[in-house]
């Protein structure tokens, strides 16, 4: 147990070091992610200016911008740049052999390296994030004058963020495993990104969606990548709905983790049968 923890720590530490090698590229990439915020704020300001209504689908302009900033935060946890394509590339180029020869588990290794990846990202991004949220603080003000939800909701929010990280990881890892069957997964990934774009809620709040889309998003896990945590923070999901939502999110994480394992085991079987 202790030996395992120490192994995990070493992997994490080495992954952290690796992330820090390309400082310049990393810092620039992190900062560039903040640019879309500005365009979003302009976009929604313009939409509300053009419309005579003060609210669209129950959202005021302030709500919209607050929602948008919160989904950015969700996605800082749930997006996994390069994970699926990286797995597929490792399979294609035979680097995956390493995990067959050495006594190390690939899924666990990737998870640790992704945690390292995220930790470094938060380390760099926390400054700009804080700045943006402070500048946009007024959008978050609630009717009662406070800026934050109560402690219980806040805890639920943080839990849903951690779960969204795990959900994003296992979902993308499972897609990457398809590389065992098809050497090229980039078009598949493109389709996934497209679905993600519309049905995770990072373009617009999902409760705006009409039927049958509203039911459809309930059947797939994508809403937990962006919409769900943001909605929890804004107090749109409360009480039994909140508990149920979190349970469903946990169920998705467990289900996808199992899928990932099965796909990996099957994939390895095929890989080693096919010729390596």
């Amino acid at each position: 147990m202790l030996a395992q923890a120490r192994t995990h720590w070493t992997i994490l530490r080495i992954c952290l070091e690796e992330r820090l090698v390309y400082r310049g590229d990393f810092a620039l990439g992190t900062l560039m992610r903040f640019l879309p915020i500005v365009t979003q704020i302009f976009l929604w300001t313009a939409i509300f200016a053009a419309s005579s209504q003060g609210e669209i689908a129950g959202y005021s302009m302030k709500n919209f911008i607050a929602y948008y900033l919160l989904t950015m935060l969700s996605r800082a946890f749930s997006s996994m740049p390069g994970l699926a394509s990286g797995i597929a590339r490792q399979i294609r180029e035979g680097e995956i052999k390493k995990f067959l020869i050495q006594p190390i588990d690939m899924v666990g290794f990737l998870l640790l390296s992704r945690i390292a990846h995220k930790l470094v990202y938060y380390g760099v991004a926390i400054g700009p994030f804080a700045l943006v949220f402070i500048l946009c603080g007024s959008y978050f003000q609630r009717p009662d004058g406070s800026y934050f939800p109560d402690g219980y909701t806040l805890a639920a929010y943080l839990l849903s963020l951690v779960l969204s990280f795990l959900l994003g990881f296992f979902l993308e890892a499972a897609i990457g495993m398809i590389g065992f069957w098809f050497l090229e997964v980039s078009s598949l990934l493109f389709v996934y990104m497209l679905f993600n774009f519309f049905f995770s809620g990072h373009m617009f709040p999902l409760d705006m969606l009409p039927e049958p889309f509203a039911s459809f998003v309930q059947m797939i896990p994508l809403q937990y990548l962006a919409y769900f945590p943001a909605a929890v923070f804004l107090g749109k999901i409360q009480g039994p709905d909140l508990v149920q939502g979190l349970l469903v999110q946990v169920a998705w994480v467990v289900g996808l983790a199992i899928l990932c394992r099965v796909a990996y085991a099957r994939g390895l079987h095929r890989y080693s049968g096919y010729g390596g």
Binding site: I14, V21, G94, E95, G273, Y274
Partner: protein, 338 residues
């Protein structure tokens, strides 16, 4: 005690065949033609503890496939193999902590980090005792003379230095069996020699079992007493390196130096003339007739010097490989008709 026991081990797989041209590519979208490749065909092999065995064979002969089978990367189509009592393709951690595979063309180290970080990671995943790890690492880095390079990112190392680091990474957990696939490929003569020297020393000191594939005859001559020649997925020879000449060479090289510069013009009646540099001549003579030819040369001419030698090893092996290449072409054309 045998460390590696292989019985009737076979591996075949299908590869996609595409004919030339765009039309064929489009057809390939709907219907794919596969060709079965028998990479390894019913191999039997036993290797004892502490042996240093070379696999020799032309490209595509099945050498790497055999190493992949023994290291558990691939599962066989049929047959059995046991290494240190384990079935490799079950990939038990108990087995994986006891062997190592080094591929000359594949990089296992972290590209952007210094090699010592990769070593540290190996310490953890192989659960190497910290004190033993330090001792082994220091010993290996001194032997290979790379201590000063430990802190340099791997991508900035030369090919030879990188190979040394790969070897260290593979040996840190003191494997009992080591598989080396072309460890000196692409290296210059000095680097090749260094790696050879190291492997020889290490193997003698640790008495570990090593299986090596290489194209460089010098590697094999320097390191291995036992050579296994593989061609078309079958073992066609198993024995000493020099024994290959006896077994496969069909001729001998006869060198004649004529007295009084009297060089006969009809040398070709004794054998195939390879080289003439008056008053010397080199002939290739079939083995069965060598004594008869020699007797008649001596009877017909006055000679100052004469020698009968085996052809160079490289030449014999090249001959063996080209023969199997022709067989393969015949086999392929037969299977096309089938």
């Amino acid at each position: 005690m045998p460390v590696i026991e292989i019985e009737q081990l076979s591996k075949s797989y299908r590869i996609y065949q595409k004919k030339e041209g765009l039309a064929a590519s489009v057809r390939g979208l709907f219907r794919r033609d596969y060709r079965q490749v028998d990479a390894v065909r019913a191999i039997d092999l036993t290797v004892d503890e502490g042996e240093f065995v070379a696999f020799l064979g032309p490209n595509g002969a099945g050498k790497t496939t055999t190493l992949k089978l023994l290291s558990g990367v691939i599962t066989p189509s049929s047959g059995t193999a046991r290494v240190l009592g384990h079935v490799p393709w079950k990939r038990e951690n108990a087995y994986r902590r006891r062997f190592a595979l080094v591929m000359g063309q594949k990089n296992q180290l972290w590209w952007d980090l210094p090699a010592q970080e990769s070593f540290r990671l190996h310490q953890q995943i192989y659960r190497i005792d910290p004190q033993q790890f330090d001792a082994t690492r220091d010993e290996l880095t001194d032997l290979l003379d790379v201590r000063r390079l430990l802190g340099q990112p791997v991508r900035e190392l030369s090919l030879g230095e990188r190979m040394k680091m790969e070897l260290i990474a593979a040996l840190l957990h003191s494997p009992e069996v080591l598989f080396l696939d072309e460890p000196t490929i692409g290296l210059d003569v000095v680097a090749q020699h260094n790696i050879q020297k190291f492997l020889k020393h290490y193997q003698q000191q640790q008495r570990i079992t090593i299986l090596l594939t290489s194209h460089y005859m010098k590697d094999i001559a320097a390191l291995c007493k036992r050579v296994v020649v593989i061609a078309l997925g079958k073992i066609i020879y198993d024995g000493s390196l020099s024994g290959i000449v006896d077994r496969f060479s069909s001729h001998k090289i006869l060198t004649l130096q004529f007295a009084n510069d009297r060089m006969p013009s009809d040398l070709s009646r004794y054998g195939e003339v390879i080289e003439v540099m008056e008053p010397k001549a080199k002939l290739r003579v079939d083995r069965p007739v060598i004594s008869r030819v020699l007797a008649s040369v001596l009877a017909d001419h006055t000679l100052e010097d004469v020698s009968v030698e085996d052809p160079p090893l490289e030449e014999v092996i090249a001959e063996v490989f080209s023969l199997t290449g022709e067989e393969e072409a015949i086999a392929a054309s037969e299977s096309d008709q089938a």
